[in-house]
């Protein structure tokens, strides 16, 4: 990240205040830590993406011809573990959240800057363990570690992968802890709860899940490791244990974990839509509260992953019913974003295109969630490509779309440079098309019955798989493009003004890039969030065009 190239007259900012490797590796500046995260999660994203590429290539033909069955099993396992624990969960909170949460509430830093740095180091230690595990054999259980396969049957590196996730989990916990304390204790004068940007509300809700959910999966992994090394019978039916207990404990975290990925993305979309429609978000308080209710209700629904796993019929009924309780606040959000567009003054800059993309993909992902929560349908489609398509629509279509939208929206603030707008719009379009081409066929594939985690499959599934692989190629290009032009812009991009979008929010009231302590003097907030009416009244002239 040797960014700030010497330019003649440059303001002092967080990028150029100190130089040298040490000034980065020992930094406690939340913005620099965010960039450390950005670098590392991008690395893991491309590692995970590389696995996905080979998976899709293998599935071009029904026969298992490109790789061995064992290799394929390791590929999808590593793809899942890397993408979930080392990309999606840290992506928005640890990069954009880290960068923006303190600035948006008018603080100089997170409450515990050194713990923030510790989080990154834990993440890196976990990441290195994961890489080491992958390079020396890998794991083949699927990211779900189901027992007794993981504890008694596979001979791959379960314990090491488990420990990597355990360590990365503590990184996630500490990030969440830092956010909650920061949001409670570090708000600038006048920044009341009802004036908080929805991005902050979303991160607050995310942090609740990180703090309460992650430890449960951590201890579950410990139990798996103990069981695997000593064969105590905790999850082994031969010794009286119950493999379903593992699934309960695992999904207690791993279902809410989906909301760790999607909630911050929803926060970003709220910011973008408000800015590019020049409006206060319709039903601000409902959108804010829906974030919290998604986090809370998210803990009540985990066993909908287990409808055919052998749980009691009555528990299945209960969990199915509860699952719909999460659907309501999600629907409320979508309706409110749509309503915000009404009578707005809408521009289609790249971040807004990503937000539109998010709306479309999340709607489809969310609605197919209704299918899976519905007991009668779930029996048929669970563990098929229908599920694969559904969660990719949420976690890639939703979370990643939001992440990219956010990266574009705040890139001028983060780097102080403008990216090429035309390329960015093109990339948004390519991602949207490529994504649908990749994953929509998988819904059909699932309903006609192709089980997931199959490395060879019956002939009749081939056409849909070829379509999916073709889409993945397009999607891959779409993901590469932003990385290229972001890097390009760091050197050749035009310097960004402090507020290129004329956006509301404290982060736009400081310099681009901000100074080390974010603000020259502590801001005092006297306005509501998304006060676009005042902003636009103040700027009678046309909004400056970017790019």
């Amino acid at each position: 990240m040797a960014t700030a190239t010497a330019q003649p007259v440059e303001r002092e900012n967080y990028l150029n205040k100190h130089y040298g490797v040490g000034s980065w590796l020992l930094t406690t500046d939340h913005k620099r830590i965010a960039l450390l995260y950005l670098l590392s999660i991008t690395l893991f994203f491309f590692i995970g993406g590389f696995f996905a590429l080979i998976i899709r290539l293998e599935l071009l033909t029904p026969a298992g011809d490109l790789v061995q069955a064992d290799t394929y099993n390791k590929l999808f396992t590593m793809h899942g573990m890397v993408m979930i624990f080392f990309f999606l969960i840290p992506s928005i909170p640890a990069v954009l959240g880290n960068f923006l949460v303190p600035i948006m509430i008018g603080a100089k830093d997170l409450a515990f800057p050194r713990i923030n740095l510790l989080s990154w180091y834990l993440y890196i230690i976990g990441g290195i363990m994961m890489l080491h595990c992958m390079l020396t054999g890998g794991v083949d259980t699927g990211w779900t570690f189901y027992t007794p396969f993981s504890t008694a049957f596979t001979n791959t590196k379960i314990v090491e992968a488990g420990l990597a996730i355990f360590v990365a989990g503590f990184s996630s916990i500490l990030t969440g802890l830092n956010f909650i304390v920061t949001i409670h204790r570090m708000r600038a004068p006048g920044m009341t709860w009802s004036r908080l940007p929805l991005f902050i509300w979303a991160h607050y809700a995310t942090s609740i899940i990180q703090i309460l959910g992650t430890p449960v999966v951590a201890i579950t992994i410990v139990l798996v490791a103990v069981e695997r090394t000593l064969h105590l019978g905790i999850f082994d039916p031969k010794l009286g244990g119950d493999p379903l207990l593992f699934q309960h404990l695992f999904w207690f975290y791993s279902h809410p974990a989906v909301y760790i990925m999607i909630l911050p993305s929803m926060g970003i979309v709220s910011e973008i839509i408000a800015c590019f429609a020049r409006k206060r978000i319709f039903g601000y308080s409902f959108v804010a509260i829906s974030s919290i209710s998604i986090a809370v209700f998210g803990f009540l629904v985990w066993a909908h992953h287990m409808f055919v796993a052998g749980i009691s019929v009555y528990a299945a009924l209960l969990f199915s019913l509860l699952s719909y309780s999460v659907a309501v606040p999600s629907a409320v959000k979508v309706f409110n974003w749509t309503a915000t567009l009404y009578k707005g003054s809408i521009r289609y800059d790249a971040p807004m295109l990503y937000a539109f993309g998010f709306l479309g993909l999340f709607t489809i992902g969310g609605l197919t969630g209704l299918f899976l929560a519905c007991l009668g349908i779930d029996v048929h489609v669970t563990d098929t490509y229908f599920v694969v398509a559904h969660f990719h629509y949420i976690m890639v279509g939703g979370a990643l779309m939001g992440y990219l939208g956010g990266m574009h929206f705040w890139w001028p603030k983060i780097s102080g440079k403008l990216y090429p707008e035309g390329w960015a719009r093109l990339a948004a379009l390519i991602v949207f098309i490529g994504f649908n081409l990749t994953f929509f066929p998988q819904f059909i594939l699932g309903y006609v019955g192709m089980p997931r985690r199959y490395y060879q499959y019956p002939q009749e599934f081939q056409v849909l798989n070829v379509l999916s692989t073709a889409g993945a190629t397009v999607l891959g290009v779409g993901y590469l493009l932003p990385m290229i032009y972001f890097l390009w812009s760091m050197r050749y991009g035009k310097p960004a003004p402090d507020n290129p979008w004329n956006a509301a929010g404290l982060e736009w009231k400081t310099a681009s890039p901000p100074t080390t302590y974010n603000f020259e003097e502590e801001p005092v907030v006297t306005w509501e969030a998304y006060n676009y009416e005042e902003i636009d009244a103040g700027h009678k002239e046309e909004v400056p065009v970017v790019g």
Binding site: A107, P113, M186, T214, P215, V222, D242
Partner: protein
């Protein structure tokens, strides 16, 4: 690590406006960390609950091989240490140096006493082959039953699940004790150097919160592990 622009209060980190804000942040941070800890143990309690209901007889039989007198002693030891901790916090807030140092030393001694007793118990498990794993033995142990009911022998593999949970739960708790003692040794060190003052004693306060939490975990572990079905 922090870069101080104007150094008026060395303990106040640069990004806080005032000491009060810093204290409140630290204490909230600790409480939230304890939430995480509760859920960390929570997964184990969930496993315990389900297997206790499933294998009640074996759990009772296995529980009764434990020495509840030692368990009770350890509970008392921890409760006493909680008192010394709270006295240490009080002393730090009221600038009573001798009381502060004394309470900290006592806390550390009590912490070691707890671990010592625990070590005695663990040693006994090794001798009796009650450590789960290849050498585990639990043959011909009768399940406690009410008078008049037929007797039966405990299923060793189900008893093993009890001991697995026993070792994971108490082991994790002991690990927390060891970390707690580490924290208190550090507190003793900075108290010795006179860095805990009525104005600035946040480390003492949040270190105390942690210690009390570890105490509370034991308050639950004691009856759940040591006192199953003793009446028969």
């Amino acid at each position: 690590m922090a870069v101080h622009g104007e150094t008026h209060n060395p303990a106040l980190l640069h990004h806080f406006a005032e000491p009060q804000q810093q204290r409140d942040a630290a204490s909230l941070g600790m409480w939230i960390f304890l939430s995480t800890e509760v859920m960390f143990f929570g997964g184990l309690f969930c496993a315990y609950l389900i297997y206790r209901l499933k294998f009640f007889g074996e759990f009772a039989a296995a529980s009764q091989t434990l020495n509840w007198q030692l368990g009770m002693t350890n509970t008392a030891v921890l409760i006493c240490s909680s008192l010394t901790v709270v006295l240490a916090v009080y002393a730090a807030q009221h600038a009573k140096r001798a009381m502060l140092l004394g309470s900290l030393v006592l806390t550390i001694i009590l912490g070691f006493a707890f671990l010592g007793i625990k070590a005695v118990e663990y040693a006994e498990k090794f001798e009796k082959h009650h450590v789960p794993g290849p050498s585990f033995q639990f043959e011909n142990v009768k399940v406690p039953t009410a008078p008049g009911q037929p007797e039966r022998f405990a299923n060793p593999s189900h008893a093993q699940i009890y001991f697995a949970l026993y070792f994971v739960m108490t082991g994790l708790h002991a690990l927390h004790m060891i970390i707690g003692i580490g924290i208190f040794v550090w507190l003793l060190l900075i108290a010795w150097k006179g860095r805990l003052t009525p104005e600035y004693n946040t480390p003492m306060e949040i270190g105390g919160l942690y210690w009390h939490f570890v105490d509370i975990v034991w308050i639950y572990l004691f009856p759940l592990l040591y006192l199953i079905d003793l009446r028969k």
